[in-house]
Structures are given as C-alpha cells and as structure tokens.
C-alpha cells in the first residue's frame, strides 16, 4: 500500500477537524477526497507529507510512518511527494523557471543543462512552453495552477497531492487541469490524492472517490459506485442538496460520528 491514513484525529484548539479518518491509496491509483468546505480535506493532505502531525492515529507513506520520521528522513520523503497548492503558492519574487528549479536544486544530481531541460519538459507537460521567464503575477489563475503543477512534477515525485486544483477556474480551464491530472498518471505513473469538491472533476480523474464528512470517510468507491450510492450524505453532496450544508459548518459534539453508512 502506498499511502495509508490510519484513524487520524486532528483538532485546532476546541475545533475538531478529523475524527478518526482512515483511507488507503494503492500504488499508481488516483483517489479523490471530496467533501464540504471546511470538512478537513486540506488538513488530511498536510498529514501525508508531514506538514501537520496527527493528535492521534498515524500515516504511512511507502511503509514509513510519517509522524515519527526524523527531520532528515522526512525531508527525504518529501522529495518523493509533489504538492500542488490550491492557489499555486508560487514564490512571487521568482520567475517560473526559478520556481521549478527550487525542487531540482534540493534533490540534486542534475547538471545545469539537465536542469534547464527538466524545466522545459515539465512546462511542456502542462502546456506552458516558453513561460520560463514570466513572474507569477504575469500569469492567469489557470496558468499559475499549471506552473504549480510543473513545479511539483519537476523532481519526478512518486506521489502527487493536489489541493483543490480546479477551484475558482472556469469550466474549460477545469477540464484542462483534469486532463493534466490524468496525463500525470499516464506519463509519469504517479500515485495521486486529489482534494476537490467538484464532483465532475472527481468523476473524470479518479479511480476511486472517498467522501469525507464530520472528520471521517463515510464511503469509498469507484466513480460508478459513488454515482449509484444510497448513502444519504453522499447522495446529498453529489446532488448538491442543501440540507447537510448547515451540519457541515456547525461544530459537532464529541460523539458526533458520521450518520451515513460506511463501506
């Protein structure tokens, strides 16, 4: 198993975000984690590369227990995990080229020429050829997301974590990003976890979809299984019904577990 999140609990002050979340992602698989805004999807992602530590439970990546890794090993593992941020998080004082080189320099082992070639390849993979010398402020929202993806794939990670890669984009750009996610899987063979609340994207890019609600995964299944789900929470989310929206944004009591059926 490539990524395994095991019974993770996480709270920020009195606000409990994750309440025993478990999820496994197999090698080469693309799994989408869907759920309401504020449900803890990004928090989940940040546990995988050790940006956050769980209060309880643990996370394994490549058989390594992430929260227990010493600093050096954690940094070594991070070079195997590409992270695509929701708002790209490009270094705004650097050009696209310099942004992409950051990971390459850290990983090491490439000559100047090889690095330049790798930057070109990565930009070509996201259809941003020739954008090397632009600054992030000179890019559109979609271009920034693609540049963020190019930065994440440049050092050829084994895993890619996408944090809402299509949020705030128009439908055409969303389709472009979805195709890129699929292309990353086909051409680089990466294992991916995609955070999204866009069901159309989730259906098109995922091998499996996991629904997060009240800090736990209430159902995991193929896109077809999710479409045909009889779980009340999943149905309400997929159909965009408003009755659960209030529950999702209201702090829950300690024993407030998921009300739907867990598969």
């Amino acid at each position: 198993m490539s990524i395994e999140i095991r019974d993770v609990h996480k709270a920020f002050g009195p606000k409990k975000i994750l309440r025993g979340l478990s999820l496994a992602v197999e090698e080469g698989e693309t799994v989408s984690l869907v759920g309401f805004s504020g449900a803890g999807k990004s928090v989940t992602l940040k546990h995988i590369n050790g940006l956050l530590k769980p209060d309880r439970g643990t996370v394994f990546v490549d058989g390594l227990e992430v929260p227990r890794l010493p600093r050096d090993q954690l940094y070594g593992l991070r070079l195997n995990i590409g992270y695509v941020f929701q708002f790209a998080a490009l270094f705004d004082s650097m050009t696209v080229d310099e942004n992409i080189r950051m990971g390459l320099v850290k990983k090491g082992g490439l000559s100047e020429q090889e690095m330049a070639a790798r930057v070109g390849e990565s930009l070509a993979l996201v259809d941003l050829d020739g954008f090397e010398h632009r600054f992030p402020a000179e890019l559109s929202g979609g271009q920034r997301k693609r540049a963020g993806l190019a930065r994440a794939i440049a050092y050829r990670p084994k895993y890619l974590l996408y944090d809402e890669p299509t949020s705030g984009l128009d439908p055409v750009t969303t389709t472009v990003i979805d195709r890129l996610i699929m292309r990353m899987k086909q051409e680089l063979g990466v294992t991916s976890l995609v955070i999204t609340h866009d069901m159309k994207s989730a259906y098109s890019v995922s091998d499996r979809i996991a629904m997060l609600y009240e800090g736990r995964v209430v159902q995991v299944g193929t896109p077809e299984e999710i479409r045909a789900s009889d779980n009340d929470i999943v149905r309400a989310f997929v159909e965009g019904r408003a009755e659960l929206a209030h529950d999702a944004e209201t702090p829950l009591p300690d024993d407030g577990g998921p009300k739907g059926r867990i598969r």
Partner: protein, 259 residues
C-alpha cells in the same frame, strides 16, 4: 463575580504572555539550530546583507546627519557663556557614539527592516509559500530566517559606525559654518573624553539591535495568521516589539557595561 472575572482575565493574559514567550524561545532555538544548515543559507547571505544593510544606509545616514547638526546647535545654545565651546565636540561625540547612533538607527531601522521582513514573510505564510518550501524539503527557518538574522547581526554594527561618523562630521561642519568654531576646537573637544571603548560599546549595541530587529521581524512574519489584516498586524507588532526591546536592551547594556 467581578473578582472571578478579573482573576480569569489575569490568568488568560498570563497564559498568553508565557505562551508567547515559549513560542518565541522555541523559534529562537530553531533558528540557532538551523545555522548548522550552511548549504541552505550561506548562498543567500550576501543578497540579504545588501538588502538589509547597504540599502538601509541612506536612511540611517540621513538621520545621523541631522542629529549631528541639531546636537551641535543645542550644545552651543546650552553652553554659551558658561562652558567652553569646545565641549560642543565632546557632547556630539559622546552622545552620538554612546547613545543616539545605535538607538536612533535601531529605532528607524526597526521600521524599515523589521516591518519589511515581517510583511514579506507574513505574506509568504498566508499565501502558503512557506508551506511550499517545506514540501520541497527546504527547512524554511534555514532558508528564510537565518540569512536575514545573520545579515542583520553582521551589517547593523557597520551601519551604526557609519552613522556615528556622519553625525560627528556634520556636528563639526555645523560648528564651523554656524557657530564659527575652528575645526581644531571641535576636534579638541571630541577627543577630550573619547575612549576606544565608546566605539566598542556602540558596536556591541549594533550587534544586539541587529539581532533583535531581524529575529522579531522573522518571528512575527512566520506566525502571521489570516490574510492581509494578519500581515498588517504582524508588521505593526514587529516594529513595536523591536522598538521596545531596543530601549530595554539599551538600558541593559548601560546598566551592565557602563556602570
């Protein structure tokens, strides 16, 4: 009921204060630990020395120039008829080198450097650029904090020495041009009570103020929460806290070294 509420508020304020001190101590400890990561921060040092040091010289020298002028005029006004005028040189040299050179420069640069660092790192924090560094296996403290703190520590004493020299020089020019003193008279006064230790004392203050301004700026930037408003709060805090600490350190050095 009121007593209960007062005690609760007092307890909460105490917890906040000690919690903040604990976080700052840990941040300082992490920064010293990250100094060992030389491959990350050394290549960035020269750029920061230029940005925080060389680029700060104009404002520091502007301040020193006018302070020197005013000190010479005020000394002459105070001494007229009672104390020999060559004491104008003494007062300008002693006041600038021992006190105003480092402290005024420190306060002015806590605004320029401290605010700049807090705003920059704060913006990086809220736009997830610091998280992005971590995802690419960079230690953000070694990459962002150490080069700034080391640059501030090394460059600040140099700025202070320049400020001392420029202030005394403009005190001399003012004395010659407006008070009709000969340069020999001013220099005689300046040398009368001058000790090399005055300069050492000024440099010690420079090192400590440079450290405090950059460290507080980085700490506030790193701990920024929220969006633009959070960046504004961090920037203000960086200037206010660094300014207060400069005054506290100034008193500390006077009490421990000059007594």
């Amino acid at each position: 009921m009121d007593l209960n509420r007062s005690l609760t508020s007092l307890g909460a304020a105490t917890l906040r204060m000690f919690g903040g001190l604990g976080t700052f101590s840990r941040f300082t400890g992490d920064s010293f630990r990250a100094i060992g990561n030389v491959r990350t921060w050394v290549p960035l040092l020269v750029g920061q020395m230029r940005r925080l040091g060389v680029d700060s010289l104009p404002i520091a020298l502007f301040l020193a120039m006018f302070t020197g002028i005013v000190l010479a005029l005020q000394a002459s006004y105070t001494f007229t008829g009672a104390i020999p005028l060559y004491f104008v040189g003494t007062l300008v040299e002693k006041t600038m080198v021992l006190e105003l050179g480092p402290v005024l420069t420190g306060l002015a640069l806590s605004g320029r450097i401290g605010a700049n660092i807090a705003a920059e790192l704060g913006t990086m924090r809220v736009s997830e650029q610091i998280d992005a560094l971590e995802t690419m296996a960079y230690d953000p403290i070694a990459y962002l904090v150490v080069p700034r703190v080391v640059a501030g520590f090394l460059m600040f004493p140099i700025i202070v020495i320049f400020a001392d020299v420029v202030a005394v020089l403009f005190g001399l020019i003012t004395s010659m041009a407006l008070l009709h003193m000969s340069p020999q008279t001013f220099i005689r006064g300046a040398r009368l009570f001058y000790r090399h230790f005055d300069l050492v004392y000024s440099i010690i203050k420079g090192f400590s103020f440079g450290l405090v301004i950059t460290l507080i700026g980085c700490y506030q930037g790193f701990n920024t929460r929220g969006g633009a408003e959070g960046v504004g709060i961090s920037t203000t805090r960086a200037v206010v806290v660094a300014g207060m600490l400069i005054l506290v350190l100034d008193a500390f050095w006077a009490a421990t070294i000059l007594k």
